[in-house]
């Protein structure tokens, strides 16, 4: 069992126009362990993506206070690739495209990076596993010889993120708005992929605006984030309540003084 713990996390980002550091996360606390699926919901601009990028170690996000611990060990000083090899995975909202590097080559490189030099995955084992996962995700075999994400549609990119998740088998996967831009069929496929990972050795943090995804991947815990903090925890029913009442309703109920980005004046 692995544990991911976020303690009083404050994160600042440099504003591209003013070049001022702007604090986005203002003391996030969260603890999860493998075997659990957590969801983070929240309005736009509240720091959900900042949280996921900070956990992964994106260089633009600066931790000004607090800590992130993986099995009790701080990962703040670890470079991105090391965090990944320690078991973290981030399914990105906007995956990069790289021409000249095939999907298959990329996947093998990612798998082999986690294995000792003298025990790299055999071509047969790799292909066998790849075929199974492609089938699970309704993906064509030709996807693997295409260049990494290049010319992929939005839906294909999301599936490709989940394919990587299935191949790499991390301890913790953060899924950053994996549902955005997906039609209902693709959403089901992606959810099927994530659900197939469910086990005592896997945990996931699902970031979403909408409750819909959580009908397909039912979370153990739902966190609501507003104004750079987690303001409420609950079970799946909390997501349903939010869907019915909106974020403003919850804010007022909690007596928070937070402006919501998309709120009309």
């Amino acid at each position: 069992m692995a544990i991911l713990q976020i303690k009083d996390l404050h994160v600042a980002v440099k504003d591209e126009e003013t070049h001022q550091q702007k604090e986005i996360l203002k003391g996030v606390n969260l603890k999860m362990q493998t075997g659990e699926i957590h969801a983070i919901m929240g309005p736009n601009g509240t720091g959900k993506s900042t949280l996921s990028q900070t956990i992964m170690g994106h260089p633009n996000y600066h931790v000004t206070q607090g800590d992130i611990l993986l099995d009790g060990e701080s990962i703040l000083d670890m470079p991105v690739d090391e965090r990944a090899r320690k078991g973290l995975f981030l399914a990105m909202q906007y995956p990069a495209e790289i021409q000249g590097v095939t999907n298959a080559e990329f996947l093998r490189a990612a798998i082999n990076a986690r294995r000792p030099k003298d025990d790299q995955i055999s071509v047969m084992d790799f292909l066998q596993e790849l075929d199974q996962n492609l089938e699970l995700l309704d993906m064509k075999e030709s996807m693997t010889e295409r260049y990494l994400n290049e010319g992929f549609s939005g839906g294909e990119k999301k599936r490709n993120e989940i394919l990587q998740l299935l191949m790499i088998k991390p301890s913790f996967a953060i899924l950053d708005e994996i549902d955005s831009g997906l039609d209902i069929d693709a959403l089901k496929v992606v959810s099927r992929g994530v659900n197939s990972m469910r086990s005592p050795k896997f945990g996931s943090l699902i970031i979403t605006h909408y409750q819909r995804l959580l009908n397909y991947i039912v979370p153990d815990v739902v966190h609501v984030m507003m104004g750079g903090r987690i303001v409420k925890d609950g079970g799946p029913e909390l997501a349903k309540k939010l869907e019915a009442e909106g974020y403003a309703g919850l804010r007022d109920e909690l007596g928070l003084k937070i402006d919501l980005v998309d709120e009309d004046d």
Partner: protein, 421 residues
């Protein structure tokens, strides 16, 4: 350029006297040598190679090797050039159609008119000093002639190994007859044991409606510099595509040049280069639209490592009267080290209104979004960087027609990047 003119002259005359070449070659050499003293050097903006030891007195013989022709029943066309021997494997079927691949001397003996008509007409000796020197002292030469209406399915694969302790002035003459179509895959190599310079010239005459695809993978490691001059004369509705990969270790300077002479002529000039250590590389990639409705594209990608210097000049010229023409260019450099220097200079010279022209240039660092994405999958930094660089170069790598050559290119690239990590 520093060299002892009188000594070179004496040596040239002595060498000429003892050679028994056809008169056409001898007179070409003599005329070229006369230009040597006063011709200017090729201008490569922001790049100085005046002091490079390109001109030497080490050409003791013009003994252009004679080709050894072997006719085969399979479809592969394979030419292996060493200073001592030019081995040509040509399918019977192509010989019957009139395809000619041989050394320059034999070709001049057998087809003096053709040689007179084409040799040193695309790149003229009087144009610049190295062209004069090269033409006067060529000592390794090859001609590829594909007659009109002949179309080759497979590529002509050419490997040239400059493995000898002497200056090599290599000349490749490619003649594409009307409506012909073929690919050439050129592979130039020289090892670190080599201490002598190379001048490397390719002339392509693409006659009406022909198509020539020229890709090359060069890995020259000699201690002395290399000079390139590649030029295609492209006639009505003919098409020449270049995909040149300069993976050299030696200092390299030169020009890839497409002359769109005919109406509707087309050139796509793609080039990649990787420089490392103290290497210097400066290239003009030039396309000149001389006729209406001609189309010239330039795409260059370079990666500079270590203390190297890399200059890409993209030169697009549209001559008055070439209406309805198009000139587009992209010059992009990736600087992988704070000690490397480089420049990507788009130079557009347009003397006609009714045209489409555009350019893009960039000198920058490795794409951080791509790098982050690979790192986030656990791929170690150095490996991830190599993948991003490969992606950056890939637009040109994928233009190389042959899969094996592409793989070879990627292997050399990976090795060089590893060595310089």
């Amino acid at each position: 350029m520093n060299f002892d003119y009188s000594q070179l002259k004496t040596q040239f005359q002595q060498t000429l006297a003892k050679s028994n070449e056809p008169a056409e070659l001898t007179s070409l050499r003599q005329a070229a040598f006369q230009q040597l003293k006063n011709a200017p050097l090729l201008k490569v903006t922001k790049f100085n190679f005046h002091n490079w030891p390109l001109i030497t007195n080490q050409v003791q013989s013009f003994s252009l090797s004679e080709a050894d022709l072997q006719l085969t029943d399979n479809e592969q066309v394979k030419v292996t050039v060493n200073p001592q021997v030019i081995a040509v494997k040509l399918p019977n079927s192509l010989k019957e159609q009139g395809v000619l691949i041989t050394d320059l001397v034999s070709a001049t003996r057998k087809y003096p008119q053709m040689i007179n008509k084409y040799l040193a007409t695309v790149i003229r000796p009087e144009e610049n000093q190295i062209a004069a020197y090269h033409t006067a002292l060529m000592n390794l030469g090859l001609i590829i002639y594909v007659p009109q209406n002949v179309q080759l399915d497979g590529p002509i694969s050419l490997t040239v190994n400059f493995e000898q302790q002497r200056t090599t002035n290599f000349h490749l003459l490619i003649i594409a007859g009307k409506n012909s179509r073929f690919q050439i895959i050129d592979h130039l190599i020289a090892s670190q044991q080599q201490e002598t310079p190379l001048t490397n010239f390719t002339e392509i005459i693409a006659n009406e409606n022909s198509e020539v695809h020229f890709s090359s993978l060069d890995h020259l490691s000699q201690k002395a510099p290399a000079y390139y001059q590649y030029r295609a004369a492209i006639k009505d509705y003919a098409k020449v595509d270049w995909a040149v990969g300069l993976m050299n270790e030696c200092n390299t300077v030169g020009e890839i040049d497409s002359e769109l002479i005919g109406e509707g002529a087309h050139a796509n000039s793609q080039l990649i280069a990787l420089t490392a250590n103290d290497q210097q590389l400066g290239i003009n990639n030039r396309v000149t639209n001389r006729s209406p409705h001609s189309q010239g594209l330039i795409n260059q990608r370079g990666v500079a490592l270590g203390n190297s210097r890399l200059i890409f000049n993209g030169i697009g010229q549209i001559i008055h009267g070439a209406h309805g023409s198009e000139a587009e260019q992209q010059n992009r450099l990736l600087m992988m080290s704070p000690h490397a220097s480089g420049d990507a200079n788009p130079i557009l010279l347009i003397d006609e209104n009714d045209v489409e022209a555009g350019h893009a240039a960039s000198v920058g660092k490795i794409n951080q979004d791509q790098l982050y994405y690979l790192l986030s999958r656990g791929i170690p930094r150095h490996q991830a960087q190599r993948m991003v660089i490969r992606g950056f170069l890939s637009a040109v790598i994928t233009a190389i027609a042959d899969r094996d050559v592409r793989q070879k290119m990627v292997n050399i690239l990976e090795r060089k990047l590893k060595e310089n990590a």
